[in-house]
């Protein structure tokens, strides 16, 4: 026999039939059904195959603690969700659900061979057996195990759904809307507190939903709360994590319960900061541990009551009860009242409250005290149970089509534990309950251990006369952990529950042991002969139930994963076919290919244009800091290696910035606009870091200095105009600045206008050619750029990208911080001794330049490399060796940092960091690359125009 729909009862809407499918077969249920209740009503008892042994499994529970009935739901392309609990899936027309971990079908599963081989799969089996040899694990064992032992399939297509997220604040957050949570909300409703009441189910009520006597109260209460302006009710919302300072993460399911995929968010992530939290999560009934307790049809007695009273579904024609707790008796009395015949009440206790005995007698239910189930008959569903009289050890059979377990209650302390509240053990409950809070939080109702279900006996497992090695009594249904596994772990020397947990995997499945932790603890406690509190308790961690990556990611995916910063000139580059790259969140034009050009051809053309006529480059991403105040020069003098005090207004200086450890962290050309005002530039990626570092020194080391720092990176568009014709392009557009070589030398700055727009005009060069960098207010960037393009047309002005910029600077030996340096390179290592003010008494990093490690010989130093075959462009990052004939593993003495084809030189060039490199000039080094080891001559790093003649024109 199996489950069926009762004639009356339940909160389902019998006027609204709902058609859905499970494993391709069509079923009908009613609005208000869960997938579990609807399938149960259709007589389906088999919901899945277990993780390790592929044993047939049915429902254990009716709520989110369900360990067995994990199913997948397919809502169309890209909308496949595995590992949902059938108890939490609301049915709707067209719902397509599937069982998991079975092949070829749920009823006939080849993996079930594992079950018969079960004696070969003890605790720690995977660790012991498959770890050697290591190579077999990756190629043979793991793929095979993954195929056979597993949860649902991971979705393969991109998720087309959108997910919302929000922050919320409230005075009082109540988590769990059973009677205790609703009472808490009603009690606070008339204050002026902002209250949020949330529950993971589709309607408020919790346990009251299974108690028709409470329905009138529930209806009144829900109406009162709904009408209260200061109460926000969130249903279908799971509080999955409790974080510092009453910060709670919750996911609200918005559309999965509706028939159509809608153009609205599927789920919403709530991040709630609450003044006070009330946890009313309730308690979870404990299964009992005995041979065959995982047979479909064996379930929690409280679940059977939920199915009958909330959903109008009987779990069987003649269920029997196996109890160690009074609550099971009340459950089967309720079932009897709902019209379900009870075949027997079996209780492990020798005596129970006489009122229970009287009620059982009145209902005509046979009672077996001091008895326990020692065997379950039936494979895909219970057909009978064998019970043992503990008085005389005789076993006899009771025919029944379902067996209800009432093993006592476990307070749901998950969120309390997330909040780092302490727990105390209560012997009479056989459970941990909340003790001292760590946040402003209280627990009420079942999760505080406060319940009126009566009392019970606390046992580890039901006694049995059977050979212990022959039985399968499950503790963790989802991870297939048996009592025997836990005892084995103890025999093998594990003492702490943390170790026993990891060795057996008890409580480590997706349900985090909601139904198994306490039974596991009791069994370990008995095996170790120590009280439970002495063997510890494993930690609960978020999430309370699994949540989708979609909800956690929200909008932060695809193009919105991180912000893309664009310059004012970016739209021009886009319109002119630029190929882009991301540099520190900036989108930068890498090169501008003409029709038919590949990158190599485009970059060569762009480089030639700069060296022969004029090129134009968007340098707006350069970091910029305005340094202002009477002590500005003194401040920069202390920060940078270079001397700044003597720099005249109107002049520029290359600045080198070290960290206090003496290593290069940033560089850039900066200008003195006035005695008390500097315009600093930093690398594109270093802008925020440098400003932070400068603020740190200014605020905390030298607060006496009168200096103000302002980021102006986004205030200026910067256009670099580079090449022998640069001045000619600029001259007609600029007013108020004498551009002649005499009046405006290299490394100078002038203020005036360009195209009528105020400009800070730098005469600087990162290419080795005559060059200008035109700073204009950001909004005018593209307009000025277009004027320059028009003016430069007669010189065939050529836009160039970051790739050509890299080649041009490398030809001149200009370093890129972070590419030619790596955080362990000093100014001397980089050949930048000239940028260090020798006479300065102090600057950031100066003392470290005399550290023993930094003055020791053999440091990696920046050198140039010219390959013996000029056509070979070395790979950046390639390792360098002195002797290519040495045995492997070779001694690597450095690596290539920059490497390009130089069209100007008609050959390849490279820079490298090599140990003792400065003393190797003229020598030969070897660079092993895939296919061939290349040789190269060590040179200086300035490959082009070493005298700098082209700059000063």
């Amino acid at each position: 026999m199996s489950g069926f729909r009762l004639e009356t009862g339940g909160r389902i809407d019998r006027s609204q039939p709902v058609t859905f499918s499970f494993d391709g077969k069509t079923y009908t249920g009613f609005a208000g059904d869960s997938l579990a209740s609807a399938l149960l009503a259709n007589g389906v008892m088999l919901f899945g195959r277990s993780f390790k042994y592929h044993r047939p499994r049915g429902l254990v529970a009716a709520g989110s603690e369900e360990p067995n009935a994990l199913i997948s739901v397919n809502r169309g392309p890209g909308r496949f969700t595995p590992n949902l609990r059938a108890t939490g899936v609301e049915i709707h027309d067209g719902l397509k659900a599937f069982s998991q971990n079975r092949w070829p079908s749920l009823a006939m599963d080849f993996g079930a061979i594992n079950d018969r081989l079960g004696m070969f799969f003890p605790a720690g089996f995977y660790n012991k057996t498959f770890m050697w040899p290591r190579s077999f694990w990756d190629k043979v064992y793991e793929p095979a195990i993954r195929k056979m032992a597993g949860l649902g399939d991971a979705p393969t297509a991109e998720d087309p759904d959108v997910y919302a997220s929000t922050y919320a604040h409230c005075d009082l957050l109540i988590i769990g809307a059973g009677p205790a949570g609703i009472d808490a909300a009603l009690g606070a409703m008339d204050t002026n507190k902002r209250i949020v009441l949330m529950d993971e189910q589709d309607e408020l009520g919790g346990g009251a939903l299974a108690d028709p006597a409470l329905w009138p109260w529930l209806e009144r209460s829900v109406k009162a709360l709904t009408d209260a302006a200061n109460v926000t009710i969130l249903t279908r919302t799971t509080a999955f994590g409790y974080y510092h300072d009453n910060f709670i993460g919750a996911v609200q399911r918005l559309t999965d319960h509706r028939p159509e995929n809608e153009d609205t968010p599927r789920e919403k992530l709530w991040r709630i900061r609450a003044g006070e939290v009330v946890l009313a999560q309730g308690a979870i009934e404990r299964p009992l541990v005995f041979d065959g307790n995982d047979t479909p049809g064996v379930m929690l007695s409280s679940a059977a009551k939920v199915y009958a009273n909330r959903y109008g579904v009987a779990v069987g024609k003649t269920p029997a009860l196996m109890a160690s707790h009074d609550s099971g008796w009340h459950d089967v009395f309720a079932l009897a009242k709902a019209g379900v015949g009870i075949s027997a009440i079996i209780d492990v206790r020798e005596s129970v409250d006489s009122a229970l005995m009287l009620e059982a007698e009145r209902l005509g239910i046979p009672v077996y005290l001091n008895h326990g189930v020692v065997g379950v008959n039936g494979r895909h569903n219970v057909s009978a149970v064998d019970i043992c009289d503990y008085g005389n050890q005789r076993v006899h059979r009771v025919n029944t089509d379902a067996l209800l377990m009432a093993g006592g209650w476990t307070p749901s302390v998950h969120l309390w534990s997330h909040s780092k509240g302490s727990l105390k053990w209560r012997d009479e409950l056989g459970a941990y309950v909340p003790d001292l809070p760590n946040e402003n939080v209280v627990c009420v109702g079942g999760c505080s251990g406060d319940w009126d279900f009566g009392t019970g006996a606390v046992i580890d497992m039901l006694p049995t006369p059977k050979d212990q090695s022959r039985i399968k009594a499950f503790v963790d249904f989802q991870n297939d952990v048996t009592a025997k596994d836990i005892k084995l772990a103890v025999r093998e020397g594990f003492r702490s529950i943390e170790h026993i947990k990891r060795y057996t995997t008890n409580g480590m499945a997706t349900d985090q042991g909601k139904t198994s932790n306490l039974n596991g603890l009791q069994i370990a406690s008995s095996a170790l002969d120590k009280p439970v509190p002495d063997i510890g308790l494993t930690s609960f961690r978020p999430p309370y139930t699994p949540q989708t990556f979609g909800a956690l990611a929200g909008h932060a995916k695809g193009a919105l994963f991180q912000p893309t910063r664009t310059t004012n000139i970016d739209s021009w580059a886009q319109a002119h076919g630029a190929v882009f790259e991301l540099v520190a969140q900036w989108r930068r034009a890498r090169y501008f290919p003409k029709a038919g050009e590949n990158m190599h051809a485009a970059v060569n053309r762009e480089c030639v244009a700069v060296r022969s006529s004029v090129g134009i480059f968007d340098a707006s991403t350069l970091g910029k800091i305005e340094v202002v105040g009477p002590d500005a020069a003194e401040f920069l003098n202390r920060m940078y290696t270079n001397p700044w005090k003597a720099l005249e207004p109107g002049r520029c200086r290359y600045g080198l910035l070290l960290k206090e450890d003496g290593f290069i962290t940033d560089d850039g050309v900066s200008a003195r606009l006035a005695p008390d005002r500097f315009h600093l530039t930093t690398t594109t990626g270093g802008a925020a870091r440098v400003l932070n570092m400068m603020e740190d020194y200014l605020q905390t080391e030298w607060p006496d200095l009168d200096v103000w720092l302002t980021s102006t990176t986004e205030q200026y568009a910067v256009i670099a105009l580079q090449g022998p014709n640069a001045r000619k392009v600029l001259e007609p557009l600029v007013e108020g600045i004498d551009l002649s070589a005499e009046a405006f030398p290299h490394m100078a700055i002038r203020e005036g206008t360009i195209c009528g727009i105020e400009t800070r005009l730098f005469r600087v060069s990162f290419t080795g050619e005559l060059g200008f960098e035109i700073n204009v207010p950001t909004a005018y960037g593209r307009a000025v750029w277009e004027q320059l393009m028009a003016q430069g047309a007669q010189y065939d002005i050529t836009p160039y990208g970051t790739e050509a910029m890299h080649v041009l600077r490398a030809e001149k030996g200009f370093i890129i911080v972070g590419q030619d340096t790596d955080g362990t390179v000093t100014p001397f290592d980089a050949g930048l001794d000239w940028a260090v003010g020798k006479k300065k008494p102090d600057f950031v990093g100066k003392r470290s330049m005399a550290r023993p490690d930094i003055v020791a010989p053999g440091r990696k130093q920046l050198i140039g490399l010219l390959t013996d075959d000029p056509n070979v462009v070395l790979e950046e990052g390639a390792q360098i060796v002195a002797d290519p004939k040495q045995p492997i593993p070779m001694t690597m003495i450095g690596h290539v940092t920059s490497s390009y084809w130089s069209e100007a030189l008609g050959r390849s060039i490279a820079m490298a960091l090599v140990a003792g490199g400065h003393d190797m000039t003229g020598g030969t080094l070897h660079i092993p690359m895939p296919g061939k080891t290349h040789s190269a001559k060590v040179s200086g790093v300035v490959f082009y125009d070493p005298e700098g003649a082209r700059l000063h024109v």
């Binding site: 603020e695 605020q699 100066k846 470290s848």
Partner: protein, 90 residues
């Protein structure tokens, strides 16, 4: 997410507005060139790693931008107090 009290804004604000800046009360020597290698090494690299009360610097980087000092318990992750840069160690 922890709430941190900024002593300059005098408000408790979410952790994501702040950046940790390492151990507090390590003053840069006034004359680094007069430091022995061992002294300089201690200043640069040697840091406390206490179990319990820890003095550290934070910056209200997405707020007022100020650096300040804090006492945080490394076991409970709770802030005991925060105070302005330059004020005596608490």
């Amino acid at each position: 997410m922890i709430l941190i009290h900024c002593p300059y804004c005098d408000e408790k604000r979410p952790e994501i507005e702040f950046a940790n800046a390492g151990q507090a009360h390590i003053a840069r020597p006034l004359d680094p060139s007069g430091q022995s290698d061992a002294e300089w090494e201690a200043y640069l690299f040697i840091r406390a790693n206490p179990r319990g009360r820890h003095h550290e610097r934070w910056r209200h980087i997405h707020g007022c931008g100020r650096f300040f000092n804090a006492v945080r318990d490394t076991v409970t992750d709770k802030f005991e107090t925060t105070y302005k840069a330059g004020e005596p160690r608490r």
